[in-house]
């Protein structure tokens, strides 16, 4: 059976969701299903009937970026960009649950998303800055 990831990328042409490992380790394929954060490479498409799926393509409102997206641009949160869609969704999900996370809560909140470029420092900083701009 097709994975949610394949349906998004191949049938719906929503290629912002990336495949990094295909085994739920890297988080590049992160999407939100009814507000829950999941790895779409681990979800058989039959499981999501009637659910609301949010991918990176649904984050910006027309030309207005989400505060997290803007903060990633302004503070170096994205380098090569391949983990970025998943990382942005994970960050948004974290801030939805906890609008003012501590550094250790940020680390835990993003622990399912791997980045090989940044060493994570600028990602943490982007999230902190996004919280401040939200206030």
């Amino acid at each position: 059976m097709a994975r949610l990831l394949d349906v998004l990328r191949e049938e719906l042409k929503l290629t912002g969701t990336k495949e990094g490992c295909g085994e739920g380790e890297c988080g590049a394929c992160t999407v939100l299903i009814d507000g829950q954060i999941v790895n779409s490479c681990l979800v058989p498409v039959a499981q999501i009937e009637g659910s609301n799926i949010k991918t990176i393509e649904g984050v910006a409102q027309e030309s207005n970026l989400h505060a997290v997206q803007q903060a990633f641009i302004d503070h170096g949160g994205a380098q090569c960009g391949i983990c970025t869609p998943g990382m942005v969704l994970a960050a948004i999900n974290l801030l939805d649950r906890n609008p003012t996370p501590s550094e250790s809560e940020i680390r835990t909140g993003l622990a399912g998303n791997l980045c090989r470029c940044t060493g994570y420092m600028k990602i943490f900083e982007s999230i902190v800055k996004a919280c401040q701009s939200n206030r």
């Binding site: 641009i73 970025t84 994570y120």
Partner: protein, 740 residues
């Protein structure tokens, strides 16, 4: 936009595309009628191919099947020695070596087909380790298993041994490391005899792929077109391997007449593509009673895998960096790259230097201890100064202040107070320690490499006054698009937004060389500066632009010039800085135009119960010339340090019969957001006269210092002397148990 963008943290040029998911990576592209391609690989390490069988109940006539005999040109990946075939024809020399290519529209059927190709091989005795290769347990490459040897000989070490106060020896090892870019290798090709070959792919070096495809298809250069798509990380892992996967996709496209997409999954990417060269280094060091270096003899050996690929140049960089930022009158470095029957090892950030610097900076803590000096005092007495010479007898002609960097780094980390406090706290379950490493990293190609490359950058103005930069240097996350635009905008004195960086496409951009070796900002950036200054001179010289002008004046002048003359283009070709000399035979001279200098300090907490060593705090202090973009530059350092922490404490390639068996992210562990300490980055700026705006290279530097700093800190915490990375908890446990 600021008037002077140089030195400012201007947001990444393609940042918006990346945060919205609009950036298109190779797997995001699709063509009508496109087939998918896969590779069938050798099941064994070494042997002679007897037969290839297509088994199972599969519609084999629907598949495009390519073997070595279908190759239209030369069956080798053009690089240094051209010894690696695109497809094994008679012999296989490593596990997972490509033998057969398959293409089909249905990628699920294709996967089943791959599993039903049986390659029958008469096995031959393999060699899996550097030691067995040196011992010539079997001759598997050339006459002696040796890809390359270097000898660096400065002064005469033999004259010193008998009169030295102390001679200290040591042996050090480093393991393989997977680049683990989050985007796997991938390529799409369209190929036919009429139009030639066009490839889109994830890559660092479009002209490497171009050169390789010219040979593979025996076509003229104009018939090969290589386009870099957005690239999801490289770190060296997309330096030479894209030539292989692009060639494979193109061979399938050539035979099928259809576009072919070939994308590796993670398991294939990890098991089949390049990794950092494992290494072994032996040191023999003579010192005087007052702690001065008298002689250093260094033997540096790397495991190159089954084919030569880039090993000679990796060996070269590792060799030249092996003696570090110290002055020693007598230095002999003997180095070798040897063959084993494992997939070829390749480029990975640092390119041999992290291996030899690890050995040196661990060894120098040992030398200091034997001398009864502190680690910092021993280094202080031996740091290189302006006017002194390196191991290759390169006279340092820039201001270098390693002592200042060391003092500053120790002050920033409160090193001395912490050393005392941690010593007083011994006895608790968590032992803390602090350690450092001092090192340098040369930017650009080694020796005469940049002269041979003859890189070219072009600049073209548009009628509406935008400036397009034409270079083959790729944006792979490190910030090429942004810093090139900053350099051009600064040099021209026009708005940053008027600068455009063209997507690297060999049919449109000149060869500015590969995106490797910390050369993009310093070497290619200088060419960007020269090329755009050419535009400005043309406009001023022709009277369209006054000496003092605004962005609007510039735009107007471009329009008028193009109206009159049709186009406005310039190009700049690499010129070496004056007084740079290199002797390829003797391996003596000016190895690099410039070095970045650094001291890194690690604080480690070691848990006696779980045997985990956790890096709690990390300070990275470096002198890198002028910083073009502080946020991007710090991002390079932080990312490099994180990879180096992985190299030191997490990333263990498990080998079985020449094959990586933990080829999954589940069991090859890289640092997660929860594992990385605060990485505090500090820059000191000493402008380099021949870099754009004074900049030097920084990309590889942060990979060099963390491993020895962390092991020095672990020794400080535990009293245990470890000489190998990766250092996993089980090794720490063995060490602790042996101690008690």
């Amino acid at each position: 936009m600021p008037d002077h963008p140089f030195g400012k943290s201007i947001p990444r040029k393609e940042g918006r595309k990346k945060v919205t998911g609009e950036a298109l990576y190779v797997d995001d592209l699709s063509f009508d009628g496109m087939l998918h391609g896969v590779t069938v690989r050798s099941p064994v390490a070494r042997g002679r191919i007897k037969n290839i069988l297509f088994e199972g109940d599969l519609p084999w006539d629907e598949f495009t099947i390519v073997t070595a005999k279908d190759i239209p040109g030369g069956n080798f990946v053009a690089l240094i020695l051209n010894d690696q075939p695109y497809l094994a024809a008679e012999m296989v020399n490593h596990p997972e070596e490509p033998v057969v290519l398959l293409a089909h529209q249905n990628k699920y059927l294709l996967e089943e087909a791959r599993r039903n190709v049986r390659i029958e091989i008469d096995e031959l005795p393999p060699v899996y380790s550097l030691e067995d290769s040196l011992a010539r347990k079997a001759i598997i490459w050339g006459e002696d298993n040796i890809f390359k040897k270097f000898l660096v000989d400065k002064g005469n070490v033999e004259d010193v041994w008998s009169s030295a106060h102390l001679i200290i020896e040591g042996e050090y090892h480093t393991g393989a490391q997977e680049q683990l870019y989050i985007e796997n290798n991938g390529a799409i090709a369209i190929a036919n005899s009429e139009d030639g070959v066009t490839v889109w792919g994830s890559m660092q070096c479009p002209y490497y792929v171009h050169k390789a495809l010219v040979k593979l298809f025996d076509l003229t250069e104009d018939k090969i077109r290589v386009i870099q798509t957005e690239t999801g990380g490289g770190f060296g892992g997309k330096e030479e391997y894209p030539s292989m996967i692009a060639g494979h996709a193109a061979l399938l496209a050539w035979k099928s007449g259809k576009p072919v997409k070939m994308i590796y999954d993670r398991a294939e990417d990890m098991v089949a593509t390049t990794k950092r060269h494992p290494s072994k280094t032996r040191h023999k060091t003579a010192v005087s009673a007052d702690g001065k270096l008298l002689a250093m003899e260094i033997e540096f050996i790397i495991d190159g895998g089954a084919y030569c690929t880039l090993s000679p140049v990796v060996l070269s960089r590792g060799t030249i960096h092996a003696a570090g930022p110290y002055y020693c009158p007598n230095v002999r470095i003997k180095s070798q790259a040897v063959a084993t029957n494992v997939p070829p090892h390749g480029a990975f950030r640092g390119f041999g230097a992290p291996q030899s610097i690890f050995a040196l900076e661990r060894h120098f803590d040992k030398v200091a201890r034997k001398l009864g000096l502190t680690a910092e005092e021993f280094r202080r007495r031996n740091f290189i100064h302006e006017g002194e010479t390196t191991a290759t007898s390169q006279e340092i002609r820039e201001r270098v202040d390693m002592e200042g960097l060391l003092n500053k780094a120790l002050e920033l980390t409160d090193y001395h107070a912490k050393t005392r406090r941690f010593a007083a706290e011994r006895g608790s379950r968590v032992r803390r320690g602090i350690g450092f490493a001092s090192f340098m990293h040369g930017a650009g190609f080694t020796g005469s490499g940049e002269v041979y490359l003859q890189s070219v950058v072009g600049a073209e103005a548009t009628a509406d006054g935008h400036v397009q930069l034409l270079a083959a240097s790729t944006e792979i996350g490190q910030g090429t698009n942004t810093i090139f635009s900053q350099i051009a905008s600064e040099a021209l004195g026009i708005d940053f937004d008027l600068i455009e960086v063209l997507q690297p496409d060999t049919s449109k951009v000149p060869n500015s060389g590969p995106t490797v070796a910390s050369r993009t900002a310093m070497v290619v950036g200088k060419l960007v500066e020269s090329a755009v200054l050419g535009l400005k001179q043309t406009l001023i010289g022709s009277g369209f632009l006054p000496e003092a002008y605004s962005s609007q004046d510039f735009q107007k002048a471009c329009g008028e010039y193009i109206d009159r003359f049709g186009s406005l283009k310039t190009a700049a070709t690499y010129q070496p800085p004056p007084n740079v000399h290199w002797d390829d035979e003797k391996y003596q001279g000016d190895a690099y135009g410039a070095y970045a200098w650094a001291v890194y300090v690690a604080q480690v907490a070691f848990d006696e119960l779980t045997y985990e060593a956790h890096v709690e705090d990390f300070v990275a202090l470096q002198e890198v010339g002028r910083v073009i973009n502080p946020v991007l530059a710090a991002g390079q350092i932080e990312g490099g340090v994180a990879q180096a922490i992985g190299f030191t404490l997490f990333e263990n390639v498990v080998w079985k019969d020449g094959r990586m068996v933990n080829n999954q992210m589940t069991n090859y562990i890289i640092p997660t957001p929860a594992d990385i300490p605060p990485i505090k980055v500090y820059f000191q700026e000493n402008p380099y006269a021949y870099g754009p705006g004074g900049a030097k290279g920084i990309g590889e530097l942060p990979m060099d210092g963390a491993a020895p700093a962390i092991l020095n800190a672990i020794e400080n915490a535990t009293g245990l002397v470890f000489t190998e990375v990766p250092l996993l908890p089980e090794k720490l446990m063995e060490g602790m148990l042996a101690q008690s």
